[in-house]
Amino acid sequence: MMSTLNSRRKYLSKDLFNQPTTIALLSCMIIALIMPYLLPLHITRTFTITFIYAILALSWNIASGYAGQLNLGVAFMFGIGGYTSAITSATFGFPVWFSIVIGSLLGMISGIIPGLISLRLQRSYLGLATLALPMILSAIIVNALPREIAGGMEGILAPPLLGVRDIVLEYYVALVSLLLSSIFVWRIASSKMGLFFQIIREDEDVAKASGINTHLYKVLAFLLTGLLAGFSGSLYVHVVRTVSPVVTSFLISFLPIIWCAIGGAGTVYGPIIGTILLDVPTSLARGYIGAFAEYVPYALLLLVVFIPRGEFGVGRLLVLRLKGIKLEHMR
């Protein structure tokens, strides 16, 4: 048990910097850096939003990919982060960076709710309970918050991310945020905490028997998910410049699952690869197919049928190929 986990941990941390992977990583970074100068503005903007979604996918990955808790309601944390950030900056006039910090922190605090639910419910039942959270949140936002603050069904306008409208600069902010978030997740994954998360995922009873405080670590996993999801929600709101109950829709909860599953859940690079592979083509295609654009995310979600084991994705296969590891050695 421990030996396989240790070896997997080694794959994650040390082997990430063997030669082919480093070259791939560096070339990706260079492409990402020069991209805004090569591509038209609307594609740059698509990538900005995709990077923010990638942060969301990374956040789902912590509690569900690493710690194995079935979470179908990441839109709950995303929505709380987004609404908090928009309301604090638009209504109370805080600077945008400060409201993003508040949004992330409130997202983290809201992670306590699914975290506590995960102590009592497991597997499918946890999924059912977390599925209800965003629906409840949108009912409360639309009806209970005053219209002049939260805007009801129409939502409110949020101030732009950098005070002025600058697509290229926003792209770089999103890129840097994605980089920082993935380093954050990578540090967690290669720490003792990440190892504990994975033990809880593999077998919770074994984790308990080996003296891990599973309750604490499950809540911690949801707190970290909430922190990153709140952060991506706040960024999203200021890039799109409006916030409405759409940010709590089930698509926001489900798409990260597909992105992670396609890219490979339980890894750092998987969610990022999955998001870029799936979200960029669909966002670009949406402009050309008119009336059917509404069904594109649904069609995307149907890809879930092709996920082999629910957590082993295309992205991970790609990276393993780069590292020269055969699939049989992995499991």
Partner: protein, 285 residues
């Protein structure tokens, strides 16, 4: 007061019907089918379509819409049953199928209309202790109660019900005893979809129809599943009556808080879980 109790009773028994269908699907097919409440919405929609757009009289419209829901729903169920794999896949996929069906239904005929008012089956009111109560409420209540009793009879007093319960308790043993598992699944699907369709058709005239109509019953079903009401007939009934009464009483007591209807079921389920970690019936499902 009478009106309030009547509304509570109707809501609870509607949830009871839906929950028994959902639980039948769960116990026979081992699948939490989140698309289930769309059949309820489809029933209501078909009743509107047949009554208003096609212009059929009441009785044929009701019978035809129940029949159509059963046929369409069983066909869709056939495909949903083929899904196997990780439970995450099942939950996501069934919810997505539900969302697709709901958006197709609302695109199909009601272009640009947010709410439809479905005409009552019976017009007129009756006055009890100076409260005017629409006759429709009594009709709905009696129909809903009739369906619950019918389902009870089917499940506990007929050979078909014995077969269904046997397959639910131990499918391998049921196969050894000569029960065809595919046929049992088919029967379970037909009965479950029929129950949802009846609930939709009967309740439809009481609420305005909207494209998000399936979400609230779904929330209630999720809460019932978490409270531990799935898998047994009485568990479903108890859990649905708790939720039906609680949410309506909250709405009556707090003015301007109709949105709490969406919040109460899950909150109640989590509270019950806090007090009784083993669920309502004390049996892990």
């Amino acid at each position: 007061m009478i009106l309030q109790i009547l509304i509570c009773l109707i809501a609870s028994s509607t949830y009871a019907i839906l929950a028994s269908g959902f639980s039948l699907l769960y116990s026979v097919g081992r699948m939490l089918n989140l698309a289930y409440t769309v059949y309820y919405m489809l029933g209501a929609f078909l009743l509107y379509w047949l009554r208003v757009d096609v212009g059929l009289p009441i009785l044929p419209a009701v019978i035809l819409s129940i029949l159509l829901v059963t046929i369409i729903g069983t066909a869709i169920q056939y495909f949903i049953q083929q899904i196997t794999g990780h439970e995450l896949i099942m939950l996501v996929l069934t919810f997505i199928i539900g969302a697709i069906m709901a958006s197709v239904i609302s695109h199909f005929i009601t272009a640009g209309v947010l709410y439809l008012i479905i005409p009552s089956v019976i017009e007129g009111t009756i006055s009890i202790m100076n409260v005017h109560i629409p006759l429709q409420y009594f009709l709905t209540l009696s129909a809903v109660l009739f369906v619950i009793i019918l389902f009870w009879i089917i499940q506990f007093r007929t050979p078909l019900g014995t077969t269904l319960r046997a397959a639910a308790q131990d499918s391998e043993m049921a196969v050894l005893l000569g029960i065809n598992p595919h046929r049992v699944k088919l029967y379970a699907n037909v009965i479950a979809v029929f129950l949802a369709g009846v609930a939709g058709v009967v309740v439809a005239p009481m609420y305005p129809w909207s494209s998000t109509m399936w979400l609230h019953p779904l929330l209630v079903l999720l809460a019932i599943a978490i409270m531990g009401g799935l898998g047994s007939f009485y568990g479903c009934i108890i859990a649905s009556f708790i939720i039906g009464f609680a949410e309506n009483i909250v709405v009556f007591l707090i003015p301007g808080a109709a949105y709490l209807k969406d919040v109460v079921p899950m909150l109640l389920a989590l509270l019950i879980l806090l007090v009784r970690p083993q669920g309502l019936r004390g049996v892990k499902i």
